[in-house]
Each structure stands twice: as structure tokens, then as C-alpha cells.
Amino acid sequence: MNQENSFVQFKKIDKSYDGEILVVKNLNLDISKGEFVTMLGPSGSGKTTTLMMLAGFETPTNGEIYLDSMPISKIPPYEREIGMVFQNYALFPHMTVQENLAFPLEVRKISKSETKEKVQKALDMVELGNFGTRFPAQLSGGQQQRVALARALVFEPRLVLMDEPLGALDKNLREQMQYEIKHIHDRIGITVVYVTHDQSEALTMSNRIAVFNDGVVQQLSTPDILYEKPQNSFVAKFIGENNTLNGVVKEINGSTCVVDLDNNQGTVTALKVNVNEIGEKTQLSIRPERVSIDKNISGANTFSGKVEELIYLGDHIRARLDVCGNNEFIVKVPNEGSFNHKEGDTLNLSWNSEDVRALDI
């Protein structure tokens, strides 16, 4: 992505609260207009801090944030024109839903009639048209969530930030709201920066995902690339399910490499992703659905594994195997009616070398 295209730009951002430990390290991130970008990571990875810097509640220790090519570090939060949905909604309990929504318009000195119109429009958008006179405490969690969303959008901000907005909802409602937010985004085309620690939420909603760990963006990609082609072992483990095998690089042939597994468990041909030289230690990553059972794929890696546990899940059977000394090796077997092994059986496993990624350790 080139610089002219980027609407929000983080340039060499460092952030430290105590002057010693950096919670965000050398962050470079470009977001283009209309994009839905998610910052995903475990707690303490620096994603919320990054969001707060964008909102103006924290100042970067080093570096500069640009919004629409303008540096914004010196602009106070109330002049940034950035909407935000807070973790616990932060609806004002002493105001009705209407008053909550009218608040940002009122402080902008927008006329009463226009305010009324915009408030109603925003409420209709989140399907709460008839709830204007209620107080936040009289609404359910999902409704409060929608009010918070409407309030963040009603003053037509340049950008909307969301800080784990669905964290307080139960699972079904969360999924429903994910689609709803996504649809609203599609409809009005606003730029969204979303923070979550829930990977399925990130995969569902985002155009691109920035995976945070330890204050550093580990990978910034579209959801499919993130899942299919993780750049390092953290991303591989954090997104989706993942089997790992440890070993040492034996030879490198262009884009592939041969890895000797630890404890002389055999050799594996894998994609060279994050290894550079022979003799380097590596962690191999294989997705559970990419492992075949009882099929002979030419040129593939073949191994045998003992069945430790079988779990029937309807559409597929989840098998936990002992493969090359790793007894947490998961294989998802599609339920095609032909699987008739029992626990304790030894299976023939095979996988394509393109599906194994040699990553850092």
C-alpha cells in the first residue's frame, strides 16, 4: 500500500508508560479509506494502547500518527472527529437514548431540528427507532451496544474506533452483532479500526487484520492469507487450530526445505517461510484439515500416528493422534461415512509439502 492511499498512518510509533518498557514498539500501519481493519492480539499486546493513541487519550512516546495526511498527535481528542465505541459502551446513564445520541450534535451546536432528524436516522439504522425515550439501564446488552454504535456514528466522524465492543455479550448475540456491524460498515463505507482478542470475530468482520503480540505487529494481512500463510509461529498458533512439529533445517531447495525432526522421528519437506540457513531450529506448522488419512499423495510427507482420542462432531471427526512424539496432533476427518478406526489404531497420515510451513521457533 503506498502512502498517498493511506487514510490513517502510524509511523514509527513507540509507546511507553513508565519510560522503560515499550508497550508498542516501532509500529508502522497504514489503513486506507473505507477499510475495516482489526487489531487482534492477546491482552497486553498493545492493541488497545494503539487504539487509544489514535483516539487521542494516549500520546505516542515516539513517532507520529497521520489522519488524512495530517499529523494528529497535538490535536486533543475532542477535535479529532473520531467516533469510538467503548468496551462497556460508556453510555451516559442520566440521559435517555435520544439525549445520548444528541450529545455529540449538541456540542457541535447543530440546530435542534437537524439534531432530531439525525438522531432518529441513526436510531433507525440500528433498528431502535422506538427506544429513543428510554434510559440505557432499561435496555438489554445488545440494545445498549447498538446505541453505542449509533452514538459513535451519528456525528458523521471521519473514522470509527471500536474497543472490544462485543466482549460483554453472549455468544449468539455476539455473532449476530458481528454481521450487523459488518453490514453497517458495508452500507455507509466508513473506515473502522476494531480491536479484539477474539480471532473468529476478526476473521468474520475485517478487510485486513493486524496481529499484535508483545507490542509488535506480527502480520498484517487479509483474513485468508493470515490463516493460510502465517508468517511466523505466533500467528500460526493464534489464528485457527494448528499442529506443530519441531526440528532442524537439513537442506534448503529454493522455496522448500527439508527438516530433520527432533529425536530422529523422520524428515519432512516443508515450505521455507521463516528459516534462512541450514542447521537452524524450526517449528513446522500444519493445519488439522490439511492432513489426509489412508490416502497416498505422491511426493507427500507420509507418517504414521496412533489414535489417542476420537471426538464425534457431526460434520467431522476430530482425532487426536500421537505423531512423531507429539501427542497433541489433531486431524479433522470429514464425515464421509468411511472412517472406521478406533482409539489405539495406527493410521497412515500424509500431507502436501506446500501445506507445511517451516516457521521460527
Partner: protein
């Protein structure tokens, strides 16, 4: 206890016949009561129980001073007569002979307010009113008017103390609720330590601080801000009462405020700013309204405590810093005028109920929150 403020039955049990005859007296026609009244009074004084009569006399003195000594003197004369068994022909003449005050109708008029079992005199007394000869309500003589002025002062001081507590307590409570834990804990100790200290100790400490040769004046003189003979009188007056009461009642404001502020999420101020409100605006529109339950609870608590406060104003208030509580204590313990004590107390209670009602009208009692 409140019944005492209207109860007048005690004297009626001592002088039942006298009052019975008294009611027959036609004040238009005769200047003085008829012979029967004097006779009844003679008999009831002669054979009445001494302690009971004594109490009745105290009561009579409330309606007109001079009653007590007059009747005591007369009683002695009556006792002599009874001893000698020489009953007079005309009791009226006997009374007037004994003491010419018996010919003064104002004494008899004052008796009129006691003939019923109930009286409102204590309430009227509590607002500087009394009865005249025809039992009309009139102002007390000028040198006996103290209560109205004291009531107003009590209200004024209570309102000021509540306001000062709010002004001083709000920032402290805000700091308590928002500082990092180790600082806020220390601050909490500073709030609670005086709260746990004896009221008397704190009040006397204020005397040490504020008196003319006290710490504050001393420092100001030492700094050259005041000249030695320009020392400010800060104690034994209303200023002293205000300062000491504010300090003593401050925790009652801080604690409810704190407990309310503590649960206001910090994200609210951020949200308000994010929505475009400057910090002052965000505070005014979002933070302050949410502290109303705490302000109300603290305000009501401080006001109710202040309006009935007694030890501190008594000690640091001097002559013009005394509040109604001091008068209640004075009448309860010194003059033993329990009727007036009860009336003052009842009015105080009434005030509080009125304020409570007003408060409920304006803010709503459901809005009160101690945490």
C-alpha cells in the same frame, strides 16, 4: 417527649377547682375574679401536695414571671392561718392583704392560658411570641426575643456549612476516586483519621488554632501579614462555628460522594471528549450529573447534622455563634423547661421534614445513594 410541648395537665391536677371557678369569671363585668376563685385557690394551696405545687408554680412562672414568689409568700401566710384555724371571712381580702399583687388583674389574666389541659404557649415561646391578657398572640418584649434570631442563624450556618463541605469535599472525593491506589489510600487515611478522633478533641484543637494568640494568628503576625494588635477574631463567634463545623462534618460529605464517584466509569469522560465535548463541558454535562446522588446524600447528611449541632457551636461559637441546639440543651438541663425544650425540638424536627420533603420534590429521594 413531643407531647410535653403541648401538655398542660400537670397544673390542672394541682388547681382543678381554682380553674373551674376561674372559668366562671366574667372579665367584662368584674375587674377581679369572684370570691370563689380566691377560696378555691386558698384551699388548694393549703392542702395541695408540696412537690406538685412546686412544679405547678414553675409552670405558672413561664406565663408571667413573679407568680412563683407571690404564691410562695402567700402559701406561708395560708399555712399560718390553717395552723391557727382562723379562716378569713373574705378570702379575696385575705389575699390582697397578704400581698397587694393579688389586686393586680394581670396576674389573673396570665392564669387564663393555663386553664386547659393543652397549650400552645411553648411553641409561641419558641418563636419569640407570647399571649397577652386577652390570650392574643403577641411578640415577646424586646429583651426576651432570642429564638427567631437563633433559628435564622441555625439555618444560615447549616446552609453555609453544607455549601462549604460540598465545595471542599467534591475535589477531595474526586481525588480519592481517581488517584492510583497507594495515593488514594493515604488520602483516605487523612480523611478518616479526624473522623475517628473525638469531637471534643477536634473542637478544642480548633480553639488552639484560631484563637487570638493561637497558631494561625501567630503565624500571620510572624510573617508580618498582620500587626500584633490587628489579630483576627476567628473563634468565639460565627466564623469559628463555621470553620470548626465544616471541618468536623466534611467526612460526611466526602464519603458518600466518594462512593458514588468511584463507580462512575472513567470511560465516560473519555467518551464525552471523543464525542466532541471539551473537558469542562464533559465534566459539566456527563460527570457532574452522575454525582448528584452523592451530593444529595452528603448534603442532606451534613445539613441534618449541622442543624441540630450543639457541642461545637457551644464551645467555639461564643455568644453569637450559638445555635438552636444550645438552647435546647440549656432548657433541658438548666431551666428544666421541658415544654419549651420539646417545642424547640419539634420545630427542629419539622424543619428537617420540610427539607426532606423539598428535597424529595426537587431531586427525588430515590436519587440518594450512599454507595
Amino acid at each position: 417527649m413531643l407531647l410535653r410541648s403541648v401538655d398542660d395537665s400537670q397544673i390542672n391536677t394541682v388547681f382543678p377547682n381554682t380553674f373551674e371557678e376561674y372559668k366562671k369569671w366574667d372579665k367584662e363585668k368584674d375587674e377581679l375574679p369572684p370570691e370563689e376563685v380566691y377560696k378555691a385557690l386558698f384551699q388548694e394551696l393549703a392542702y395541695g401536695e408540696k412537690v406538685q405545687v412546686g412544679r405547678a408554680l414553675t409552670r405558672m412562672n413561664y406565663s408571667k414571671s413573679g407568680w412563683k414568689s407571690l404564691i410562695k409568700k402567700t402559701s406561708r401566710a395560708i399555712k399560718k392561718v390553717v395552723k391557727k384555724d382562723e379562716f378569713p371571712d373574705s378570702y379575696k381580702e385575705f389575699f390582697i392583704e397578704t400581698n397587694e399583687k393579688w389586686a393586680d388583674p394581670t396576674y389573673w389574666y396570665a392564669m387564663g392560658q393555663m386553664v386547659n389541659n393543652q397549650t400552645s404557649i411553648y411553641y409561641w415561646n419558641a418563636i419569640d411570641r407570647t399571649f397577652d391578657q386577652e390570650l392574643n398572640v403577641v411578640q415577646q418584649e424586646e429583651d426576651r426575643r432570642v429564638y427567631v434570631q437563633t433559628w435564622l442563624k441555625t439555618l444560615k450556618v447549616s446552609i453555609y456549612v453544607t455549601l462549604f463541605c460540598l465545595i471542599l469535599g467534591f475535589p477531595v472525593a474526586h481525588l480519592l476516586a481517581n488517584l492510583p491506589l497507594r495515593y488514594s489510600n493515604l488520602l483516605m487515611i487523612f480523611v478518616l483519621l479526624p473522623f475517628w478522633t473525638s469531637l471534643l478533641v477536634r473542637t478544642t484543637a480548633w480553639i488552639v488554632m484560631l484563637q487570638q494568640k493561637g497558631v494561625i494568628n501567630g503565624v500571620l503576625v510572624w510573617l508580618g501579614i498582620l500587626s500584633d494588635d490587628g489579630r483576627i477574631a476567628m473563634v468565639y463567634n460565627e466564623t469559628g462555628t463555621l470553620i470548626a463545623m465544616t471541618q468536623i462534618l466534611l467526612p460526611f460529605m466526602i464519603l458518600p460522594l466518594y462512593s458514588v464517584m468511584r463507580v462512575i466509569p472513567k470511560s465516560h469522560m473519555r467518551a464525552a471528549q471523543n464525542l466532541g465535548a471539551k473537558p469542562v463541558m464533559a465534566f459539566w454535562r456527563v460527570y457532574l450529573p452522575q454525582t448528584i446522588p452523592g451530593m444529595s446524600a452528603g448534603g442532606l447528611l451534613v445539613f441534618v447534622l449541622a442543624i441540630g449541632y450543639f457541642i461545637t457551636p457551644e464551645l467555639v461559637g461564643g455568644k453569637d455563634g450559638k445555635l438552636i441546639g444550645s438552647w435546647i440543651a440549656y432548657h433541658l438541663k438548666t431551666t428544666l423547661n421541658w415544654g419549651l425544650t420539646a417545642a424547640l425540638g419539634a420545630i427542629l424536627l419539622g424543619f428537617m421534614l420540610i427539607f426532606y420533603w423539598l428535597y424529595n420534590k426537587i431531586v427525588g429521594i430515590d436519587n440518594i445513594k450512599l454507595g
